[in-house]
Assembly symmetry: D3
Homo-oligomer: 140 residues x 6
Amino acid sequence: MTVHVSRKEHFNAAHKLYNAAWSKEKNVEIFGPCANENWHGHNFDLIVTVKGEPDPDTGFVIDLKMLSCLIRAEVIEKLDHKNLNIDVDFMKGKLASCENLSVEIWKILSPKIRGISKFGKLHSLRLYETPRNYVEYFGE
Amino acid sequence: MTVHVSRKEHFNAAHKLYNAAWSKEKNVEIFGPCANENWHGHNFDLIVTVKGEPDPDTGFVIDLKMLSCLIRAEVIEKLDHKNLNIDVDFMKGKLASCENLSVEIWKILSPKIRGISKFGKLHSLRLYETPRNYVEYFGE
Amino acid sequence: MTVHVSRKEHFNAAHKLYNAAWSKEKNVEIFGPCANENWHGHNFDLIVTVKGEPDPDTGFVIDLKMLSCLIRAEVIEKLDHKNLNIDVDFMKGKLASCENLSVEIWKILSPKIRGISKFGKLHSLRLYETPRNYVEYFGE
Amino acid sequence: MTVHVSRKEHFNAAHKLYNAAWSKEKNVEIFGPCANENWHGHNFDLIVTVKGEPDPDTGFVIDLKMLSCLIRAEVIEKLDHKNLNIDVDFMKGKLASCENLSVEIWKILSPKIRGISKFGKLHSLRLYETPRNYVEYFGE
Amino acid sequence: MTVHVSRKEHFNAAHKLYNAAWSKEKNVEIFGPCANENWHGHNFDLIVTVKGEPDPDTGFVIDLKMLSCLIRAEVIEKLDHKNLNIDVDFMKGKLASCENLSVEIWKILSPKIRGISKFGKLHSLRLYETPRNYVEYFGE
Amino acid sequence: MTVHVSRKEHFNAAHKLYNAAWSKEKNVEIFGPCANENWHGHNFDLIVTVKGEPDPDTGFVIDLKMLSCLIRAEVIEKLDHKNLNIDVDFMKGKLASCENLSVEIWKILSPKIRGISKFGKLHSLRLYETPRNYVEYFGE
């Protein structure tokens, strides 16, 4: 009996889409206004989904308060009111796209979720850049 | 040609998270404010997804008006403005977590959906406790 | 130059609508399922609006982080995961309707907002019981 | 490393549910108010999900601006402020259900997405008729 | 002590914007795709706000279940799954704009709200044509 | 007979809260993480409300397509994917708070709305910085 359990958190950050191997002109050609050298930003929403069998003692796959604390301490703290291209160690040298960001968040959360839940494991991350644009990553 | 069709319904209910085999202190330690003996509550949203081939005569996998009526009669009627720990027969003796509630709702709806749709069968239940906490169950 | 500034917070609580001066039958007749003696509950959203001239040094009518802290400490802390009829001192002896709750929250917040903002004063409270039912109070 | 990327677009359209092989009475019996001969309508939301490996040069599975332009040119332009039963060439002779509409949109978008993304392919379409009724199609 | 109380209801309808005193060409010039002769449609949301003093016996300005029933019987029943230009008696001979529709709904609801609440009177109607376009009417 | 008509538009921008007359330390003390020198950002929503009598020929207070075009050309174009502190001429020398931004947007839109509507005038601007923080300005 497997249940998926999800928690939504949010953060506000600045970024630009910019490939340092390209000229400024090529960046503007490919990324358009997203390449604005003075940055732009978003209110991001992050949905973390953990999958597993409910613990018979608690009825929980994972304690959502603990999951929320984990996401805040390990991810939101490093991203909220930050610049994704400059301030975030795990995005150094990577294009600041949602695709890449979701993959890096997976690497951080996946082992730590094992640490706070004996029944659940990370199933997916959904990252909203705007209410109309989002990505989802399943770990492979 | 398989299509997934979904209907969202809602209900308002009280509950507490409480394991009767534990002391009051242990319940508060594990469940925190969710163990408040005087209860708390939520506006729950329930999304029921049915999967199948559209009927060539109607273009429908399932008639959503009939699905809505079924969910209301069999599930919402028993949960809305109720106490999940006290008033709901199919939750008796179970921890009133969303995980357990979604599994019990599956047992109720799954056979009855077969009765109102020759083309569709229950695919998943998604149960929102708050806009930021939800569970999903796929029947096994 | 007056600007209205708003902050939304939320809490989850149980309540019932019950007039102790009436019989159980009359309560059910008037309040319907909201009178369920075993309680029901909601995810409440509270929007607090403060009105004033922006401070020339900060561009703020009120610091929204301080407003958020104030609402959480003085209101949410007393309501979240609580029973509005039993656990909340300022609702003792009052019908646990949204109308009455918004009036009591006004009495708490109005003087304290004066304390954290020299430019703003409380303008309105909007309290959502569900996404489709809400009340608004302007202090008189 | 596969990521799912989604874009939401919307359109406003009229339709009725009506099987031309049936009498007017049978249509009303089966489809209820949805068979109103003078039409009714909806604000539809369409979520298009593309799946693939992020391009190492851009960090993108697909350029969401290009995906948005494609959906608008090939789908929204043909559906927005239109009558699904009368004005839409690819729905001629088909029941104007969301199930059938999602299948036809798939046929249009699937080959064209290959044309604008070397890394991504169409994974799913989700079509909301109302915030509480929606269908999802995965292409088979 | 005055509180505003609001209830949201919804309906799905078809309409077109068309001034019968003008040529087809002028209608298209002024109303653009909204003049499509084959209609288009929307999911409308209607928020009805009643203002008054809470009844000391119930804590209510108005019983929201009764308000919901009234709106459904007098307004939604006449608009849902209908064509605003053809099927709705109180819109006959009027341009089917949201502005005009909100004024006509006011005329219907205002006297009847007096009939179900001794403490409240109609304060405003807010009518959403889409999540991004809406009108509000205060009765004069 | 006066109706309020509203249109919602959005933009994504970077900013920081920073008073150039203060030391870096004082900025961090007052503005907290909002003073991060490397910027952060938001998805802003802007609701523009125009008030007036509906034109008897069109049923419109203002043509919402024209209002949308005006807002996009005069405001969104200058703010979307921009840095509010650096890239926006009308914010030069002003603290980049939502309060100040709403006042400047009023100055731009108010005279131009007169130009596209003989019946309506600007009534209010509501600017959401996040779904939980917003300001509203009424022009004085």
